[in-house]
Structure formats: structure tokens, C-alpha cells
């Protein structure tokens, strides 16, 4: 039999035949390793877990068009490709137009969106009723609903006139079509559509004052008023008081404002408006500006406006650290997709702050557990040494050198460390899983690499914990301990 075999035989005999004592040591190492590997797992999983939590607070990235115009579906999907589908939790397009209730003539903001995505990017939306699931259904903001007295399943007739849409901006150029609107009497909008000839003179003008009181501002709708602008240079000279008609002062001033703030659009005139009957599927309560909007599907929005695949903004919920998000933003910029991405700093910054605090906390607890484990193992090994003073003395009397004593105790300690490490890695995963499921409501995947790491770390901890007890063991004087009864 080789010396090594005898060494292993002695160690296994010591561990197996002195089971109860060794179980205590094994347990302290095992529990330490369990908590350590569990915490390390959580430490690395926290960003993912917390990221998922933070996604509950809404979008953390916003896409808008690079110029001030609208975002088309193609450039939006190009931008999403930069991020990668795995990372995108939700991507909700929004299209905002100003529409009116046919009956009350009240204006409101109509928003086209994708309700499946809304639930991902704005999980905090509280809906009374249900999200619209079919065509011609709307989700109505609580505030609008109260104003017009809409209830669940009420049918609303809404209308959209193209000139009322938010127009794309830009410099007026010869031949351009300009669209403008301004608030007139009772804050009801008046709108104009102008075309310029190649000398920048107004070639045609359509005026919509249908929202104004008929016998006052409404009078301006006839051709006699609009005629006076035809042939005049654009922009108009300022303060031309002759254009302000008495009896329709507010409306005519609004018309002047609409003209002077009108912006270039290429298709505004091509757009045809529509009137649609929509049923209220749900009432939205957010505590925010969304309560004054009416949401409908993108298909309904297209039907209402006659425009497809145009978005004003796209809200994204993206998983990733603040740095990763910033990286996406930069890549999109570099690729020149015609899209500008902005981070919702309120969300990303607080996420980073909370994350680093949480990780610091887990790190601290890990360090404390590490020290506690070492104290615990050290104490147990100390007790083991005390208990085995006679045996150590005997071994020395039989010719064991100090080094053999060291190797034997270190061997036992590291064997316990390895065993405790395996136990800890497996139980630690369970521990992390339980914490994850109970605290973060999501499960984690087992990291195979953690097994060897935990075993090695436990062995090192066990070895370190044994150093002081071993020092004491080596100091034992065989003559003294063997003499006693």
C-alpha cells in the first residue's frame, strides 16, 4: 500500500467514523457555500431581475424622426434591429392627430397604437373594461370620457379633418403646400391650407372655420375673405390690421396666426378625412396626460386619417444597462437610420442607481457571510483539534513530522471544503431560485461554471479556516498530552 492510499484511508476513516463531528464542520462549510453561491448567483442575476422590474415602470427609450417629421414603419423596424429582438421587451408606436367629436364639436387627441405592445411598455396602465381587441374600438382616457360623458360600450362618432393634423415642419419654399392651424373663438381651432407659387406668392387658400360661431367667425369661411390673401407674398407682412374683421376679430386673428405659423407638408392636401363610429372598450386611468387621449388601433387610425405606417413616436422598453442602452443610441446615430433615439433618463438613471446599491448590498452580505463561515469553520476545526490532542500527540510520538500533521489536517479540511462546496453549489442554486421566485417573480438558469468555482472557493475557505487550528495542532507536545489520564 502506498503512503497516499494510507493517507486517504486515514482521512476517510476520520470523516466517516467521526461522523457527527464532521457533519458539523461540513454543515458550516456547506451552509456558507450555499449562501455564497446563492448570493453570487443573485448578484449576477440582479441586473436582469431588476431590469425586468424596472420595465414595469414603462419605456426607457423613445424613437422619433430625425427631422421633425413623422417616423415611418421601415425606419422604426431598422432601429429595432440595432437593438435585437431578444432585448426589446416592447415597442409601441404612437400616432397622434387632433380629431373631433361630431356631436359636440370638441377636439381631442386621437392616438393610434398597438395595444399588445402598450401592455408591455406601459404595464402600469389601469384599464376599466378591456383593451380594444377588434376594429372600431377605442380605449378612452378617463378625462375625455368624463368631459363627453362616455361610458363602457358607448358609441362615439368622431371625425378627422386632415388640416387639423399635426403637420410636418420646414421652411416655406416656392411651390410648397403649407398647413397651419391656430386657436380661434372658444379655443376651437381654425385651419388653413395654402399653396405657394414659384414666386412665393399665395396661389390658393382653403380656410376651415367650421368650428367658429356661424354668424361671427364662421362668416369668414366664404370666398370673399380668403380671396384677399391670394396673390400676396408669403409670409405676410406683420400687423396687417386690415385683415382683422370687426365682428370676427378673434377668428380672423386666428386665421392670420394659422397662416404665419403654417408649415410645409407635401401630402396634407392629399389626405382625406373621415368620420367613424367607435365603441368604448375600456376607460384608461393613468394619472397622466394619457387620460385626455383616445386610443385606437393603428388600422383604425389609418382608416381615420387615410395614412398608413406613419408614427410620431415609438416607445421602447429595452432590457439592458444604462451603458448598453447608450450604446444602442449611438449605433443608431452612426447608422443614420433617420431616427433619433432618446433615453428616458428618469427610468435609466434610477435603474442604474438602484442596481448599484443593490449589488453593493449583496456584495456586503456576501463578504459578511464569508467571514462568518470562516469563523464558524475555524471554530469547528479548533474544536476538532482540541478533541484530538491525544491523537495528534500520539501521531507525533509515532514519528509524524510537523508537516505530516499539517498535511493531514489540511487534507481533511479541504476534503470537507470540496464536499461542502458541491453541496453549497446545488443548494445555493435552490436558494437563489427561491429568492428569485419569491422576490422577483422570475426563475434563474443554473450556471454550470458556478459548481467548480464554489468548490474551489469552499476549499480555499476551508483551508484558510484550518490555518490557525493547524498551528495549534503542530504546537502540541506529545509528552504532555500522552501523560494525562
Amino acid at each position: 500500500m502506498t503512503k497516499r492510499k494510507m493517507f486517504l484511508r486515514m482521512i476517510t476513516a476520520s470523516l466517516l467514523r467521526r461522523r457527527s463531528r464532521m457533519l458539523v464542520a461540513l454543515l458550516s462549510i456547506g451552509i456558507g457555500a450555499t449562501i455564497l453561491s446563492g448570493l453570487v448567483t443573485i448578484y449576477y442575476d440582479v441586473p436582469r431581475q431588476m431590469g425586468a422590474q424596472f420595465r414595469n415602470y414603462g419605456a426607457n427609450m423613445i424613437l422619433v424622426s430625425q427631422d421633425t417629421g413623422t417616423l415611418n414603419a421601415q425606419s422604426a423596424s431598422d432601429a429595432l434591429e440595432v437593438i435585437g429582438t431578444d432585448q426589446v421587451i416592447g415597442a409601441t408606436p404612437y400616432r397622434y392627430v387632433t380629431a373631433q367629436f361630431v356631436r359636440s364639436q370638441l377636439s381631442f387627441v386621437a392616438a393610434g397604437t398597438d395595444f399588445d405592445q402598450v401592455q408591455l411598455t406601459s404595464p402600469y396602465f389601469v384599464v376599466d373594461g378591456a383593451y380594444p381587441s377588434g376594429p372600431r374600438q377605442v380605449l378612452i382616457g378617463k378625462q375625455v370620457a368624463e368631459t363627453v360623458g362616455a361610458k363602457l360600450n358607448s358609441v362615439l362618432e368622431i371625425t378627422y379633418k386632415p388640416s387639423q393634423k399635426f403637420v410636418s415642419g420646414g421652411e416655406a419654399v416656392p411651390g410648397a403646400t403649407l398647413v397651419g392651424s391656430a386657436e380661434g373663438f372658444n379655443t376651437n381651432p381654425v385651419s388653413v391650407v395654402l399653396t405657394l407659387d414659384d414666386q412665393m406668392k399665395i396661389a390658393s387658400m382653403e380656410l376651415d372655420v367650421s368650428t367658429q360661431t356661424e354668424e361671427y367667425g364662421g362668416r369668414l369661411g366664404d370666398e370673399t375673405y380668403t380671396k384677399r390673401f391670394i396673390g400676396r407674398a408669403y409670409p405676410l407682412e406683420e400687423n396687417d390690421e386690415t385683415d382683422v374683421l370687426s365682428g370676427a376679430t378673434i377668428t380672423s386673428r386666428a386665421v392670420l396666426e394659422a397662416i404665419s405659423t403654417a408649415q410645409v407638408t407635401d401630402n396634407a392636401t392629399a389626405v382625406t378625412g373621415n368620420t367613424m363610429s367607435m365603441q368604448v372598450a375600456g376607460i384608461l386611468d393613468t394619472g397622466g396626460k394619457e387620460e385626455s387621449y383616445i386610443f385606437m388601433s393603428m388600422d383604425d387610425m389609418a382608416a381615420l386619417t387615410g395614412e398608413k405606417d406613419l408614427y410620431d413616436v415609438m416607445e421602447l422598453s429595452v432590457s439592458g444597462t444604462a451603458d448598453e442602452l447608450a450604446g444602442y443610441v449611438q449605433t443608431m446615430e452612426e447608422k443614420d437610420l433617420g431616427v433619433t433615439a432618446r433615453l428616458v433618463k428618469r427610468i435609466t438613471n434610477s435603474e442604474t442607481a438602484v442596481l448599484s446599491k443593490l449589488q453593493a448590498l449583496v456584495f456586503l452580505v456576501t463578504a459578511v457571510v464569508l467571514v462568518l463561515t470562516m469563523i464558524c469553520v475555524s471554530t469547528t476545526m479548533m474544536a476538532v483539534v482540541t478533541e484530538r490532542r491525544k491523537e495528534i500527540g500520539l501521531r507525533k510520538a509515532l514519528g509524524a513530522s510537523d508537516d505530516s500533521i499539517r498535511v493531514e489536517f489540511l487534507g481533511e479540511g479541504m476534503f470537507l471544503g470540496a464536499l461542502g462546496g458541491v453541496m453549497g453549489a446545488l443548494l445555493g442554486f435552490g436558494f437563489a431560485q427561491i429568492v428569485s421566485v419569491n422576490v422577483f417573480e422570475s426563475s434563474i438558469t443554473f450556471q454550470p461554471l458556478l459548481l467548480p468555482i464554489t468548490v474551489v472557493v469552499s476549499m480555499v475557505i476551508a483551508a484558510l479556516s484550518c490555518l490557525w487550528p493547524i498551528k495549534r495542532a503542530v504546537q502540541i507536545d506529545p509528552a504532555l498530552v500522552l501523560k494525562g489520564e
Binding site: 500500500m1 476520520s14 510520538a397 509528552a479
Partner: protein, 224 residues
Amino acid sequence: MSLLEIRNVSKIYGELKALDNVSIKVEQGEWVAIMGPSGSGKSTMMNIIGCMDKPSKGEVLLDGVDISKESSKKLTEIRRDKIGLIFQQFHMVNYLTAVENVMVSQYYHSMPDEEEALEALGRVGLRDRARHLPSQLSGGEQQRVCVARALINHPELILADEPTGNLDEANENIVLDLFAQLHKEGTTLIVVTHDPEVAEAAQRTIVLEHGRVAREIINENFGK
């Protein structure tokens, strides 16, 4: 040259002289008993001879080497190579079986050899108890295992401090017979005892009193 020569050795604990200028010679192959009242310094002397302690004064020559000047590391080596120890309280590793306890001695000395260890157990009449743990053995059996352990590496010198102190008559005789066999094979034996019968089995008895050699008795009846 004597195997062991103690020259003017004193061991002083504070005021107390456990050994006081002791000089003794033990020849190769001799069987010597040491007697004396409790506290007379017998164990102190055995520890010094057994390389587990150093004298305060004097020289201890073992095989011509002065072990009173050696480092503790060197002493461990000498003990391992030349000396077999037997104690009154047996002292076994309690989680190892009888044969494993014998093998521990081989392990530190050279190479563990289970066959040889079993043979040694056979010699002390315990071959069939080889797989028993100390707790499953009687005191006499444990002491016999310790004898087997002491002789396994063929030491030049066997030191036994009250080997029969905890044994009954029958086991005492078994152990004495084993000593007689070892003596015949040429092993030098130094046996501390309170028991005149055990002392009478030896060739010579040295009596210690108050740390000094009081007298020496040659056993005229030895071998008869």
C-alpha cells in the same frame, strides 16, 4: 559502546528537580526495568530517552549520538527510526481499526504494508481482531495492539512506561511473554513499572528516588 548512555542528566522544573544528576548505561539487547515511587522522575527520564523532551543539563547518547543537543525535527526522526513506544493508557487512534493503527506507525516510518501489520497482530494473538475499532477491544487487547505497533518497524529500543499498569494478571503475562520474545530477538527494552513481578522479568532494575538513582538490582534469576 552502550546503546544508551545517560551522563549527569538533570531535568529541572522551576524549583523542582525531576531528575537530579542521573547517570545510567543500557547495553544493546539489555532488558532493564525502572522502578521508583510516584514522582521520582521515571516518566521524565523515559520522555528524554524517547526524544520527546530534552534534559536541562547533561548528555544523552543514543547509538553514540548526543540527543540532548538535537533539534526537535531531528529528534522526531530519531524517535521514528529507532524507538518503539508503549504507554500505560495504550493510546490508539480511536477511529482507525487495530490493523490501521499498526499501519499508522509504518506510514510515518516508511511504507504502510497491511500484510506485515496483520502478521504483527498475529504475533500478539490478535489477527482475528484486526478489523475492530479500539472501542471494540478490551484493554488487554488494546495494549497488545500497541505492542504490535511498537515492534512493527523493528526498533532498536522499546520504551514502555507502565505497560501493564492497566492490565489484569492474564494480559500482564501475555505482554511480558511478548517482551521476552523481543528480548530474545535482540531488542533493547526499558520498562517502567510499579509491579515487582514485571521488574523481576527484566535482567536489571534501576530504582529512582527523588530524581536520583537510588540503587540497581541485578536479577540473578533471569532466564530461569
